[in-house]
């Protein structure tokens, strides 16, 4: 789980890769389409997609002669699960503090 998350965070570390990923969040795209409106070469986009795919963040499928990429919600789900658990615990700590503080009737 931890290694998996590290891979996901590493994959999203690169700004261009994040850009590719955000574009895919708006819908499936082919490599050529993605490369057209990004300031990097098509091989570079392919390389970014490869890293995103290895991290489990995107999947690909053949579409005729092209290869179409889309976000894999499962990959992001793991990152989200980590934060989700974190906030559960932080907010519980907030609740305990708010109610403890109230009982002790502190100065405003």
């Amino acid at each position: 789980m931890t290694d998996r998350l590290s891979t996901i965070f590493a994959a999203l570390a690169d700004p261009t890769r994040r850009e590719v990923f955000e574009r895919l969040s708006r819908g499936p795209r082919a490599v050529g389409d993605l490369a057209q409106d990004l300031p990097v070469s098509r091989p570079a986009v392919s390389q970014h997609l490869k890293v995103l795919k290895e991290a489990g963040l995107v999947t690909d499928r053949p579409d005729g002669a092209r290869r179409v990429y889309q976000i894999d919600p499962q990959g992001l789900g793991q990152m989200r699960a980590w934060l989700d658990q974190f906030w559960d615990q932080a907010l519980e700590a907030f609740k305990v503090e708010a109610e403890r503080n109230d009982r002790e009737d502190p100065k405003p």
Partner: protein
């Protein structure tokens, strides 16, 4: 027509047995009293965590060595009903101005004098930036669970 695929926002709902005014105050002015201390954005140990009480205010931590670490800023300051924060802490547990996620907290009075807290952390697709910190954060002794258990113990004692 393309379908938009994004990670769902994290949403939490809890009831706190105090007024919205009190809940808002503890969440913000009292931030340092409940926020987990053991993880810091800097290299040292976190000494104090602060949310400045105004729109545009800073949201930051101070290490024991005095250095300050930005976490984001206050996007909306509307006591006692609403707080909107920019969370610019990435997966590496470091500050990244380009990491543009949002935290919204709504405080609503309930009929029996308590406060319904609605929490949302959204735009999670904008997280990223490095792996090492995430590993540290999760592999430290006890992880978040252990740290917060320690906090809770201190708060309740």
């Amino acid at each position: 027509m393309n379908q938009i695929i994004q990670p769902a926002a994290i949403k939490k709902s809890l009831t706190v047995a105090v007024s919205p005014e009190k809940a808002f105050a503890v969440f913000t002015d009292g931030f340092d009293r409940w926020w987990p201390k053991s993880h810091t954005i800097g290299s040292g140990s976190l000494k104090q965590a602060i949310i400045e009480p105004r729109q545009g205010g800073r949201w930051y931590g101070i290490d024991v060595d005095g250095s300050e670490n930005e976490w984001g800023e206050v996007l909306a300051w509307e006591p006692p009903g609403r707080l909107l924060l920019a969370w610019r802490i990435n997966g590496q547990w470091t500050y990244d101005p380009g990491c543009n996620t949002e935290i919204e907290v709504l405080f609503t009075a309930t009929a029996d004098g308590q406060t319904q807290v609605e929490f949302e952390h959204r735009h999670l697709e904008r997280l990223g930036e490095g792996a090492e910190g995430a590993r540290i954060a999760m592999d430290s002794p006890g992880g978040w669970g252990g740290i917060l258990a320690g906090f809770k113990q201190a708060a309740e004692s």
